[in-house]
Symmetry: C3
Subunit: 143 residues, 3 copies
């Protein structure tokens, strides 16, 4: 019993790292199956899967994964909301990416029941790249 609890403890407190490679400057990349595999490795039956992006020019969002046009529309409209070239003060040419990151957010969560991620019927998990292409990381922790 003590040993069972302590294994559970371990699984809760472990942070896993997902490696993501993006292929364009701006892109919503579907990482649902990667996250599912990772949660399955952790082996938690019931709880919450927390995802955290440690970057400042990227984010994470949950949206429709059936039609890839949805992801494309989100990226295009964000470009209207925070255009790339606009005389920003930040001199690295990626101020728009920082703004988009704060609008979309860098962390989300999904419930786990009976060992599987509880997504809605049409939902997928997207890594939101705004200043790629790059090698990126997503941290996963369950609680």
């Amino acid at each position: 019993m003590a040993s069972h609890s302590s294994n559970l403890w371990q699984r809760w407190f472990d942070v896993k790292e997902l490696k993501i490679n993006t292929s364009s400057r701006e892109e919503l990349k579907d990482i649902t199956s990667k996250v599912k595999r990772s949660v399955s490795d952790i082996g938690l039956e019931d709880g919450i899967c927390v995802l955290y992006v440690p970057h400042t020019t990227a984010g994470i969002t949950i949206n429709e994964s059936a039609d890839p046009d949805v992801a494309t529309d989100i990226v295009s409209q964000l470009e209207e909301i925070a255009p790339r070239d606009k005389g920003y003060r930040h001199r690295e040419g990626n101020a728009d990416a920082h703004i988009k990151s704060s609008l979309i957010g860098n962390t989300t969560r999904i419930f786990i029941e009976n060992g599987s991620l509880q997504l809605g019927t049409w939902q997928g998990i997207f890594f939101a790249e705004f200043d790629g292409p790059r090698s990126r990381t997503v941290w996963i922790k369950t609680s």
Copy 2:
């Protein structure tokens, strides 16, 4: 003691479902009292209430509930930010709703102390409908 822990365990891991009926295409619907009732049913004294919307054309947000004009202004300005008709690629006529969903977010959390939700003085919890009217669901889990 063992039995007390195991009840607590149960309460933590249980996901409850709120049913929401929206009445317009776009609407911020105040669900504060529904969430309060649900948290009171769960009976957790101290913890965190996590809310999750399993839809891709809706979201959840915390904002002022005293003056209903605030909710109206948020909905109207989102329509400026992501107009309904704009030649999006997604063919179902609700690309704007998907974009708004990612901007507002589909999950939030509120602290619980002494068995009650800890909202700020002016705060209410709003279900954000962007492609209604529909029957919708919000998942609640405490941790």
Copy 3:
């Protein structure tokens, strides 16, 4: 052992309060060191630090803290996205602040490992003031 668990329990369930003074109407104020001190006081080795803003005209976001121009650009672009004067229905002259609050969000979280906050290399935690200057509060809970 029982006493160790119960201390841990206490630390988990305690909500701490940060006091923030903002100095302009709109401002992203870096509160990273304040949050770090608070997490260090709580003394949790591994877990999640949850931050919650109990206001409806402010928010919280994680973004680059190295170059202060990034924060300035985010504030300026939000003013384009939801301009201050626009004939909103809410009569208190701060409808834009409510809209910005829902776009940025009022809650976030950061992982804790080995007693320290796990932020990405360039990340800082910002209190987002949209209707200041004011005395504000951020609630912190670990889980």
